[in-house]
Amino acid sequence: MRLRLEARPAPSRAMLWLSPLLAALLAAVGGGVVFALLGHDPLVALGTLFLAPLSTLDGLTELGLKATPLLLCAIGIAVGVRANVWNIGAEGQLTMGAIAGGGIALAFGGEGRWWVLPLMLLAGAAGGAAWAAMPALLKTRFNAHEILTTLMLSYVAIQLLGWLVHGPWIDPEGFNFPQTRMFDDDALLPVLVEGSRLNAGFLLALLAVPLAWLLLSRTVTGFRLRTVGQAPEAARYAGFSATGAVWFSLVLSGALAGLAGVLEAAGPVGQLQPVMSPGYGFAAIIVAFMGRLHPFGILGASFLMALLYLGGEQLQVSLQLPIAVIGTIQGMLLFFLLGADVFIDQRLVVVRDARHA
């Protein structure tokens, strides 16, 4: 008797949505093992990680705050992947968005200038889009794969931000700390819940969910994108442009990531610092796949990932655990997700050696 994977006649719809839940459960178990090995009671640690942040209003607003950039980046990534364009450089586009929007805030911020904030948001989206346009050009013109170029350009963007906040944009009254001056009030997002950091950017991110769904499911553009991604030969037959799909999906996902960046700068951070994101752009890749590349699925997955970030901070504070634990659990999440996804197209069957039966 042995076990064998057998192709299913059709992909399992149930398994498609069960797989992320299974992966989350397995990652929690795996996390518990890690906590136990580090000498902590796994139940206490898991409670701190997953439950404690949800028990207070403050925790819930922080959850929305952290879900915002994840949601925006992941939606952009998912639109790309549906078109078979793999933008894994959202982190860099996010950084460029923060730089572009932050530049506007530093240049024009002041009292009574209502137009500064909208201009910042536009600049942020444009900065991210421009950064993603480079891989689009490299792919369509020179056939350079976007997985490499988007990733490599991320590090360029992060270095650029580092240079700016250490050099030309450094706060002259900041005791030589590598950061810009704080933005003026007009360059900051309005807060939604009094006394919390949750701001209007969260609403923008929520708005992106139905819009992305509309784009993918109900527009000709979305249909073209999906066809190019799903069946390139059929797209060529229908006359859908593959080049257009590359440009559209990279520029759109770059703009969303750039928007996420400027929302961080104009929101919880309030200035530019050498590091604007604790890896939101990379974690969003996991979020996009956990959410099955579907806008509403991504909404749920972004909250789960936000919880992981938030709980991770609590762990650092209350149990003195290193931040690397969160990276480990994120990794396990993706690992178990990929493993569980095998069962969408295949099933496990028990084979009895029938030949001699």
């Binding site: 059709a10 527009t219 229908a238």
Partner: protein, 518 residues
């Protein structure tokens, strides 16, 4: 040997070469083979007949050890055997030539055969043996040539030689003539008869009923996984064989009354296009004129520029603007969508992955080439219109499926093709291009598709059909031209077209036939 299988054994005392008893194989809800029994006598050319999806391929894969049956027994020369894998089948003396060849393009014929045999003899000795066997069966193959230089017919001969070198007692051939020119098919039949005369049995799978009547001495007919008839095809007619396969009276296409051909609707002027990919064909000086209301057939063996010609006509490859005229307007530089907007429709050769998307619902597949009709302002899709379009196509063209939400992959090849053909015809094109429209489609669907094409032409559209199936072209086309080596012969009226004349042109003889008086 207790089964009551009624097949005469020509050499009475010998047990059948191969006997199958109660072979069943189930895939999910579908019973691919249902208690199939089959006897093949030594030296017999035995036809296995059936529509697509009748279970022929499954049965042959079971015999060749590729898949294991759920139930049933296989007897080889009277002894019950287990065919665990293709190696075991070959050890028994079973050879199989698949529809799709498995040859390495960059190796020579001899190297390919050596790989397949896994033999320990040197290449020189093997080469000599290949020459000897090839001569013995009249198979013209040069062992030292690289496979990528070979025509499809030559490649098939390599596959056959590979089997023959193992001295098979049973040779299974899966639709061997679908890739051959008429003369090549004749050569194949001579070879198979010689093989049978030496005592080797042949199991012959084919759709082409006339050639089965000419070649085979016994036939087993499968329908929906079950044996429904056994007969001697020599005393049957093609029609009676088709009725056994389909289980009912055969409908026929009826040609609409003759009509005068109209104005040219698609004109190609001296189109020369280099091959787009390695081993592709360069189009050389193609000139053709398709008239409104006619069906122009393009005959020829695949690989002679069909793909390239269709790509150039459909707009997937661009040319000089004036090289292709659609209703008098230059469209050579336009892409597929722009040409479609000007009244061109195209039925591509590949169904899933090109003409339709396997993972898409039929509603989405309807959308593939019909975006313009169902788009509300601002690029939003009018889902009600999309669904109505798909429902109309399903009803109008008799597509058997579970509804507009059915995934492309869930349809049989014939029904998927009916849907694609319907989608293109329903667009109301002025010009329709159809590539191998009934290839691999069951007889009922093929009839319906041919009728649809003829009706469209009768309604005043120009229809260009590229097909390898000469009988089909002779049935539906008004004029036939032959594509060979990237050159297109002048068209001839179908009344003047004979298999021999077209066969000569396929072999690249158009310059001899149509050369100016020398």
């Amino acid at each position: 040997m207790s089964s009551g299988v009624a097949v005469s054994l020509p050499r009475g005392v010998l047990p059948p070469r191969l006997s199958l008893f109660g072979i069943s194989k189930r895939y999910g809800a579908m019973l691919a083979n249902d208690a199939v029994a089959l006897n093949v006598a030594p030296g017999e050319i035995h036809a296995l007949l059936g529509e697509n999806g009748a279970g022929k391929s499954t049965l042959m894969k079971i015999v060749y050890g590729v898949i294991a049956p759920d139930a049933g027994e296989i007897a080889w020369e009277g002894e019950t055997v287990q065919v665990a894998d293709p190696n075991a089948a070959r050890a028994l003396g079973i050879g199989m030539v698949f529809q799709h060849f498995s040859l390495f393009e960059t190796l020579t014929v001899a190297e390919n055969i050596a790989l397949g045999l896994g033999s320990r003899q040197g290449l020189a000795a093997l080469t000599a043996e290949i020459r000897r066997t090839a001569a013995q069966y009249g198979l013209a193959v040069e062992p030292g040539r690289h496979v990528h230089h070979l025509s499809v017919g030559e490649r098939q001969r390599v596959e056959i030689l590979r089997c023959l070198l193992q001295r098979p007692k049973l040779l299974i051939m899966d639709e061997p003539t679908s890739v051959l020119m008429p003369q090549e098919a004749d050569g194949l039949f001579v070879m198979l008869r010689r093989l049978a005369a030496e005592g080797c049995s042949v199991l012959y799978i084919s759709h082409k009923l006339e050639e089965i009547r000419a070649l085979c001495t016994a036939a087993t007919v499968l329908r929906a996984g079950r044996v429904v008839a056994r007969c001697d095809p020599r005393v049957e007619t093609a029609e009676s064989l088709a009725e056994m396969m389909m289980g009912g009276a055969l409908a026929r296409t009826h040609r609409p009354p003759a009509h005068a051909a109209g104005a040219p609707c698609l004109v190609v002027n001296r189109l020369t296009l280099p091959a787009g990919e390695p081993f592709g064909t360069t189009l050389r000086g193609i000139a053709l004129e398709l008239r409104a209301g006619e069906i122009l057939g393009i005959a020829g063996v695949a690989g002679n520029g069909q793909k390239e010609l269709l790509a150039a006509l459909a707009g997937e490859r661009r040319s000089a603007p004036g090289a292709v005229l659609l209703e008098g307007r230059p469209v050579g530089a336009l892409g597929p969508a722009a040409r479609r907007a000007r009244g061109l429709a195209f039925i591509p050769e590949e169904r899933l992955g090109r003409g339709a998307v396997a993972e898409y619902s039929l509603a989405e597949n309807a959308l593939l080439t019909r975006v313009d009709g169902v788009t509300a302002p601002r690029g939003l899709l009018d889902m009600r219109a999309v669904n109505a379009l798909a429902a109309r196509l399903i009803a109008r063209f008799g597509v058997r499926c579970s509804g507009i939400a059915a995934q492309g992959r869930s349809l049989s090849g014939g029904n998927m093709q009916k849907f694609i053909v319907g989608r293109e015809i329903d667009a109301g094109p002025r010009v329709l291009l159809a590539a191998h429209p009934t290839w691999g489609v069951d007889i009922g669907a093929a009839l319906a598709i041919r009728q649809d094409l003829m009706d469209l032409a009768a309604a005043g559209a120009g229809v260009l059909v590229v097909s390898e199936d000469l009988d089909e072209l002779l049935e539906i086309a008004d004029r036939i031209a032959v594509l060979s080596g990237g050159r297109l012969s002048p068209p001839m009226p179908v009344a003047e077209a004979t298999v021999e004349r077209i066969g000569l042109l396929m072999g690249g003889a158009e310059r001899m036939v149509h050369a100016p008086a020398a």
